[in-house]
Symmetry: C2
Subunit: 365 residues, 2 copies
């Protein structure tokens, strides 16, 4: 059922932290040839690895256009449920539902408005009508009522919650003219508090360097690992454009407190060395007017912070980079009871995101 | 998960009777304009009435092509879950899953091969590829493993089960050359026993007069109301072609015993007076090569036996006919604890079937 008049905050619902227990994980299946090279086959290989890995730890639901339904069924992946869910691309973190709970067994979904990261201003493709229905369809499958926002544009990858009243986001994304250009920062903050059931929003100024697709989603630069504690994508080299972005974020976070008045502890995770698109990779993407081009030499927004925190494991993107091991070690130290599952994720990065961007958790209510 | 090697019978699963308790009911949403007149709007009105009525008694899941998803959501029907489920037409009784249970809380699905009531021999439309996936998609949503039959063709409307070892079917349909022409009657009977977990098959020779779409599905002529007891579509007028069909069925049933050795008690339900297609109704159906035509004056296979037996109610097609009240009275006497819900169903009949044909129960395991 759609809930129009009321809000999660009024009804006592809030967005739990990703590191809390999940009922399951949703993904969508990639196929669009103007984003994923070589008929999306290499990307599908990477998605399959992510799906099979998460499914070792919690149930997985994979939504797909009807065209790929049989392909997925034939893969016969254990602990994975295949459902039809039309979509324009596979970024369910961004177009999917944000689930909220009330701490007494109740769960609902928030169905934000989605406009492909900027709509007609600077969106990545047209149309995005099927993406915009994904949240409602997830809610239906979960049997959850949902709050339907017909105007307010938000992607799930642009927010993190500590589950204790604090939301983490970036100004670069949420104040971008392709989203809610007619709203002030204060009005946007109020919407986040109202629909995530939170009391405070922390605004990191910018996302990762060259994360132009999403206009600097927070989920590529910073993630809660516990209430009052985050990991932050870091760069030691002061000549790299990433350095100043990370430094500004660090200074901001260390100057702030969360909703409970705690200081924020920041754990740095160094980004990999610059990853750029090869000529071959660029040429094997179909060119379609209105879709975002993938050009040789473009630097990609590679970051270990775009990991997914599921029951019993951290699903971590790695890049065959000297920094991979540091990221593994950092997360293992932060989550001693979880298995670190590194997955080589260049194909996901080529599509514009990474493991966190293609997953969406359903909390255990 | 697909189960290929094993069978319900081996695994201790059987098809329960429709009159036993359900978890829910599935329907598909009609839209094809070469079958449903006036852009399927009148049919959608009839479907909506059926959906809302069943939803008073048990949860309803409605599958739809993506084109009609929003339309359905906006209808905001209580106790109804909308899911995306691509289909070629809306006859889920026939293309959907047959659920089997083991009496110990287990439930699985049987995914028969579907070929649009006759495939390239005498099928009603082409293609039928999306219909053939409906059973697997129902199983996925129910979280049920399923037996996948890659060759054996069967529609759910061509069988009834008493849940105690007896399956009811018709020779006219199951021996039709458009189904399993390479199999003998004995081989087909063995498949029914194996996949419905049954011991005996009762073969009524023919279905209702002019049920040419389905080649005489049993669900239009005869249905179990209890183990050892059926209702049979009847015609008193010996000059009507229906008379001999019903008489032959009656004689057959009265000469037989069920799997438990019981004689079959037959309750007659008189069919309505002949219903024919009007000129107006015929002209408002789009003509598409390869689809079954709807011509003025064609007699339609109207029958009260095509009711749906859900939790607490009988959803009964009526035709503004003098025999309506008799059908209501007969069923009320047979099911004193259930509410009889008569629904004017001419629009469903114009499409080639009725309430039973557009519904499919999921038993409570």
């Amino acid at each position: 059922m759609r809930i129009i008049g009321s809000t999660p905050k009024e009804d006592g619902y809030y967005m739990p932290a990703e590191f809390r227990e999940h009922r399951c994980t949703y993904l969508l299946w990639p196929e669009r040839e103007d984003n994923w090279r070589d008929n999306a086959e290499p990307a599908q290989g990477a998605f399959e690895k992510v799906i099979r890995t998460i499914a070792k730890y919690e149930p997985v639901v994979v939504g797909t256009n009807k065209s790929q339904y049989q392909h997925l069924i034939e893969m016969n992946m254990p602990n994975v449920q295949i459902v039809e869910m039309s979509n324009n691309d596979a970024w369910i973190r961004d177009c999917g539902a944000t689930f909220v709970i009330n701490g007494r067994g109740g769960m609902r979904a928030v169905d934000w408005k989605f406009n492909a990261w900027g709509g007609l201003v600077n969106g990545l493709y047209f149309p995005w009508d099927q993406d915009d229905w994904v949240a409602a369809k997830m809610a239906a499958i979960e049997g959850a009522d949902y709050y339907h926002l017909s105007d307010f544009i938000l992607e799930g990858g642009s927010i993190h919650s500590d589950g204790e009243g604090t939301i983490l986001t970036t100004e670069e994304c949420l104040l971008n003219e392709g989203r809610n250009a007619n709203m002030t920062k204060e009005e946007i903050e109020e919407m986040l508090k109202t629909y995530c059931g939170a009391e405070k929003v922390l605004w990191i100024p910018q996302g990762i360097y060259m994360d132009e697709d999403t206009n600097g989603h927070v989920d590529n630069i910073c993630q809660f690992v516990a209430p009052g504690k985050v990991v932050l994508a870091w760069e030691d080299n002061r000549d790299d454009p990433q350095y100043m972005r990370s430094k500004i974020a660090l200074d901001y976070l260390e100057s702030e407190t969360d909703a409970k008045g705690r200081k924020i502890e920041v754990v740095k995770m160094h980004v990999p060395n610059p990853v750029t698109i090869t000529d071959h990779e660029s040429r094997h993407v179909d060119i379609v007017e209105g879709s975002f081009p993938r050009n040789e030499g473009d630097r990609l927004p590679a970051s270990y912070v775009n990991y997914y925190n599921c029951n019993g494991a951290i699903i971590l993107p790695i890049f065959n980079d000297p920094h991979d091991q540091d990221a593994i070690n950092t997360l293992q130290a932060l989550f001693p009871d979880k298995t670190i599952e590194p997955i080589y994720a260049r194909e996901l990065l080529l599509g514009g995101g990474n493991i966190h961007c293609i997953t969406q958790q359903v909390p255990r209510p």
